[in-house]
Structures are given as structure tokens and as C-alpha cells.
């Protein structure tokens, strides 16, 4: 009797889990189905019905369209620069805020952290005005400059982690004559690897999915990023869902690859940051 009860409890448990998984997997599955249907199939059949045949026309249309590969290239380039910049400068800043002592350090950190509370939309116009004044509108510089020197969130995250490392190690290194650079490269970075991986992933996903700022600051197709380019296919008046979803699927591939490669670190990053962004 107890075994039957346990089995039925497990069955119920797995049923609930399966339903929850379906809710999360569903949109991706529908995207996949729609990307493999011709436009008349997307409109004329139920979204959950699988495609009758492997129709690759949407991918062909998207990939040979004038600018899609350029959009992809722009997104990849900007994301790589943003990720490298945010992590490099973020580590330096977090180290300074965590382990160096200088006048006004905590005050400066508080002020910097306070910018975390300001929504992006508030700084949009001033930021655009600055870019315009220095003639950077519609350039790659404009796409990454506002974010490449680190973001309050990742610096805060890394600073907290660096502070949790035992202070005696750093003191011992200094007694042994290590320079700050040596401490940073030989001690802090190896010990802070989990949080640095987390910061890298956050920066990458942010760069890849960024929409509003690239939309505002770029004007020409040769500087457009993927998110903005895909949104253009989805006009208010005419919506080519087959192309939008095929393009979205292509855009998703790098993120899926990153997930597959760094699966363990991602799970660990969620534990470390406590936030799944």
C-alpha cells in the first residue's frame, strides 16, 4: 500500500514537472515548428502542429537577405567587445573596491551602486545627446562605449565575491613582495574564476539581447544589430512571422551553444548570484 502511495505521489510530481517544462519549452518548440513552415503554413495551420515537410525556405530567405549576416556579424562583434571589456574593467574595479584602500572608496562605491537603481530609459536621452555631441551616433563606438567599462551589477557581484576571499592570502602575498598586478593575476583571478565566469555570461547575454540602445543609436543597416533587424521584419502593418521566427532561431543558436558548453558554470552562476538574468 505504501509503495502504491509513493508511486502515485511520484507520478503526480512528475506530471506537474512535465507540465511546467512544457510551459517553458513550448514557445521554443512552436518557434522551431513555425520556422520550418512556409508562410501559408504558419498562418493556415495550428501553431502546435508540426510541419508536414522540412521546409528550409525561411532560413534561405533570411540568410540571403541583404543584411541578415551583417546584423549577425554586428551583434557578434559588439557582444565580444562588450564581454571582454565588461569583464576586464569589471575585475579591476571590483578588485579596487574590494581589496584596495583609498580615500572615499566606500562613498564612491555607494554612488556607483546607486546608478543600479536608475532605469535605462532615464539615461537614454542624455546618453544619446553625449554620443551625438562627440559625433559617435551610428558608429560601433556608440554601440559598446556606454557599457564596455563595466556595469554596476557585475562590479557589485564580483566585489562581493572578492571580499569573501580570505584577507590573509592577500596580506601574505604582499609580505612576499607581490605587486598589485601579480596579486590580481596570480591570486585573485584564479580564486575568483566562478564569479568571473558568471560575469562573462551575464555580459554576453546582455550584449547579444540588447535592443533599446542599439535601436536608438544606430541609423543604417550596416550598423544594425540582430535584435533590431528582426524586429523590423515584424512591422505593425505586415508581419512575416515565418521569417521572424526563422531569424530568431538562428539568433538563438550561439546562446544555445554557450549554454551547452558552460552548462555547469551557468548553474553555479545562478547559485552565486542568486539571480537568473
Amino acid at each position: 500500500m505504501a509503495a502504491i502511495l509513493r508511486s502515485s505521489r511520484y507520478a503526480g510530481f512528475y506530471l506537474v514537472l512535465t507540465l511546467i517544462a512544457l510551459v517553458f519549452v513550448g514557445p521554443y518548440l512552436l518557434t522551431f515548428f513555425a520556422a520550418l513552415k512556409p508562410e501559408s503554413g504558419v498562418y493556415g495551420t495550428a501553431p502546435w502542429s508540426p510541419p508536414h515537410s522540412l521546409y528550409l525556405g525561411n532560413f534561405h530567405t533570411v540568410l540571403v537577405s541583404d543584411y541578415f549576416l551583417r546584423f549577425l556579424e554586428n551583434t557578434a562583434g559588439v557582444t565580444i567587445v562588450l564581454t571582454i571589456g565588461q569583464v576586464t574593467f569589471g575585475v579591476l574595479a571590483a578588485y579596487a573596491f574590494a581589496r584596495l584602500e583609498f580615500p572615499g572608496r566606500d562613498w564612491l562605491f555607494s554612488v556607483y551602486l546607486a546608478t543600479l537603481m536608475v532605469p535605462n530609459i532615464v539615461t537614454l536621452v542624455p546618453l544619446y545627446t553625449i554620443m551625438r555631441e562627440v559625433h559617435l551616433v551610428n558608429t560601433y563606438w556608440a554601440l559598446f562605449l556606454p557599457y564596455v567599462l563595466g556595469t554596476p551589477y557585475t562590479i557589485f557581484l564580483m566585489r562581493q565575491y572578492f571580499r569573501s576571499l580570505p584577507g590573509d592570502i592577500f596580506a601574505a602575498a604582499r609580505i612576499d613582495g607581490c605587486s598589485e598586478f601579480t596579486i590580481l593575476t596570480r591570486i585573485l583571478i584564479p580564486m575568483g574564476r566562478p564569479i568571473i565566469v558568471t560575469a562573462t555570461l551575464i555580459a554576453f547575454v546582455f550584449g547579444w539581447n540588447n535592443f533599446l540602445w542599439p535601436l536608438i543609436v544606430t541609423d543604417s543597416p550596416d550598423k544594425t544589430v540582430l535584435t533590431v533587424g528582426l524586429a523590423s521584419l515584424q512591422s505593425y502593418y505586415v508581419q512575416h512571422w515565418n521569417l521572424v521566427l526563422a531569424g530568431s532561431l538562428v539568433a538563438l543558436i550561439p546562446l544555445l551553444v554557450i549554454f551547452a558548453v558552460f552548462q555547469r558554470q551557468i548553474v553555479r552562476s545562478i547559485q552565486l548570484s542568486g539571480i537568473n538574468r
Binding site: 558608429t139 598589485e180 535601436l215 543597416p221 505593425y236
Partner: protein, 457 residues
Amino acid sequence: MRRYPARRLAAAGGCAALLTVAVACSSAPSTSGGSGGSGNGKINLTYAQWQTGETPGYQKSIDVFEKAHPNIHVTIETIPYNNYQTKLTTEFSSGGGPDIFWVNTPMIASWLKDGVMENLTAKIKAAHINLGQYLPTLVALHEFGGKLYGLPKDWDTIAYFYNINYFKKHHITIPASLSWNPSTGGSWLQFLRELTTDTSGHNALSGSFNPNSVATYGMDDPNEMQWGFEPYLAEDGVKLINAPYAKTVSFDTPAGVSTFQFLSNLMYKWHVALPGAALGTDAAADTSEDVQNFAKGKVAMIEAGDWITSGLPSEVKFPVGVLPFPAGPDGNWTVLNGLIDSINSHSPNQQAAWELEQWLGSPASEKILGGGGYIWPGIPSLDPLFLQYWKSKGIDMQPFLTESKWHVVYWPVTPGMNNAQLDIANQLAPAYLSGKNVAAAVSAAAKQANDDLASAG
């Protein structure tokens, strides 16, 4: 922890500031976006629009323009419609933005108030541009206090696209004239009853018709202003606002309520229009749920603007026809809308932008766009080109053209209308989704819209 003295920090800060200035100064100037020349003696213009499908047509036209103006280069900037006004307003607020840009009716009032659209009245007069060549109602739509802020480029009206195969299968003959009224429904209701069939094949005129098992509804009835309720309101003598720049809406009248009640009855009393829930969570069909239901055979006709025509051949697997709007108690009315190209008053390239403006509004450019089936040209003498293009593709677009000669009502032009439009849809949604409390929903929609217009100043 290591301690750093203030002097050393100040020096580091100074270095950082110098570096920032150096980076900024070493950057090349922007090559577009109203920022002047590119360094090779050419003037770069940016032309902003939102219609990806029309971009090839505009590119063809601009190629011809660039040949005639070798010192001007034009970049077409396609911006998603939902972000169009946000992006441009952000740019305008810092003195930037495209040199020349599309303006849709809901955007006019805000941008006029902000002073970002160049008044072209004097230039048009000096260049002896014949405004009489354009559709008069289209010119009137964009004339404010005797001033014009752009040359009209295209227009659209609202009609019904129908499934020719379905009509043939059910032996439907389209009556020569159709009319509706809010009390009996008129010949329009009879026609819709004939069109609506249940899963057993009975139409809604039959006593055996099962309203709980409808296979195909006669039409859709979206909770949308332009291609939903505005044409019906106009035909019942109701205007959304009484005049341009009105501070309050005017659809919450007994006639307005009875029009909305009629539309609700089509769905929930007579069961001849697709229930609102099939058109999205707000019943507004704003992510093309109408075309999806049309393609699936759930509706025999959809109410829509001519701009969806280019997408239809690939979206549906049957031939489509076009039916004009039925006449209402107040006669034949349509919602006429159109776009203008406006010049950014902050653009440093005023003369070049004016050259492009003239070209885009000229018969030569309109011929390229109309003849390619991209737009109904704003110059009526060229409309046959668009008609011909679609006739060759098997779609007779004549009803849209016929409607453009009817009484017309416009999208309401007043500050805050963009927000009000969304709020009206939100407040009407419960009635569209349930068929209940129509009068209360209309009243709530009007109240919310009035608040929006008041707060827009």
C-alpha cells in the same frame, strides 16, 4: 589592504579624463543621421520609415534620385513601427534624428507640438508644386492652420478581403449594394448570415444552424480603431473626436454605444462574426490573428486596409477578392489615412532634404512605387498603375479606390491620441471578449481617453 594617497588618485583620475577626451576626439564623425557630409564631398541623408516590404520600392526610387543628384547619398533606415516614435522622439530631443521621415497620422500632433517637422508651405509655393495633383482629402488630412508639413505620398482605405473559393463553394452571390443599421442589421446582417456556416454545413439563415459549432464566420470584428470600429462609427454619424486637436473624445454618445452594441451583437447575438477571443487577448488582432483565422478558413472575410495585400498571396492558399464597406445609416464613409514625408527641422541638410522631399512627392517617384504595387500613389491620376499591378496578380483592388471618393473620416489628430488609442482598446476589450456591459466599456474607454488627451496638454 593597500592604501593609496589622494594625490596619486587625482593623477589617475586626470589620466582617465584625458584618455576619454582622446578617444572621443579621435573618432570619425558619423556618416549619416543628419550630421552632414561624409568627408568625400557627398551629402548623406537618412530617410526613416517602418515598412520593410516597401523598402525595395523606395530603394528603386532613391536610386533614380541619386543618379540625378550625384552629390547626395540617401540611406533608408527601417525602424520597427512599435519603436518608431520612441526612437525618433529620443533623437529629436537632442537635436538629431533622420533628415527626412515618414509621419503617420497619430504621430502628427505630438511632433508638431515639439516643432520637429519643418513647415514646407513657403517652399512648396516657391517651387510651384501643384497641390491639386494630390488626392484633396489627403492634402486636407495634413494641412494644419493653412500650413503643410510634408508632401502626401500615399493613402489607404478599409474594405473586406474575402475568400473566393469559399464564396464559390457556398454559391454566394454578392449583392449590388449592402447596408447595415444598428437595430435590424440590414442587408449586411442577412449577407453575413448567409456566409456563416456551422460544422454540419447549415448557414445562419437556416433553422438548423448551430451557433455553438460554427465552422466559418462571415467576418471578423477587431477591437481596432482604424480597421475595426471607426468606419462603423462614422457611418452611424459618430466621430472619435469632433475636430483636429479636440481635447476630448466624442464617441460616448447614444449613437456610439448603439454602434458598439451592433458590433458586439454580430459576435454574440447573431453569431456571424468571429468572437473577440480569437483575435488575441485584447481582441485587437494586432499580431495578425485576423489573417491567421482567414488563412485557416475560420472567417470568410476580414476587415482590413489595403496595406496587407502584398502579404496575402504567400499567407493564404486561396484567391482573394475585395468587397467595399457596406453603407451605414449615414451613408458611405471610409477611414482614409495616408502618410507624408516630413523634413526634420533640426537637419543641417535642409536643401538636400527638400530635393529628396520633392522627388518622393513627384509623379515620377509615385509611378515607380504605384507601378510596383507598393502603395496607392497620393496622385490619383497614377492610381490605375497600382490597380493594374494587382489585377495582374489576380486581385481587384477597385473597392479601395471607390471608397477613397466617399465621405472620409480620418484617424483622430490630437496630442496624446497614440496613448489614448491603446487605452481605448484596453477598456473596450472586456466587451469585445464577452459581449457584456458594452455601454459601460464605451464610457470607461472615453473617460480613459479623455484623461490621456488632458495629460498630453
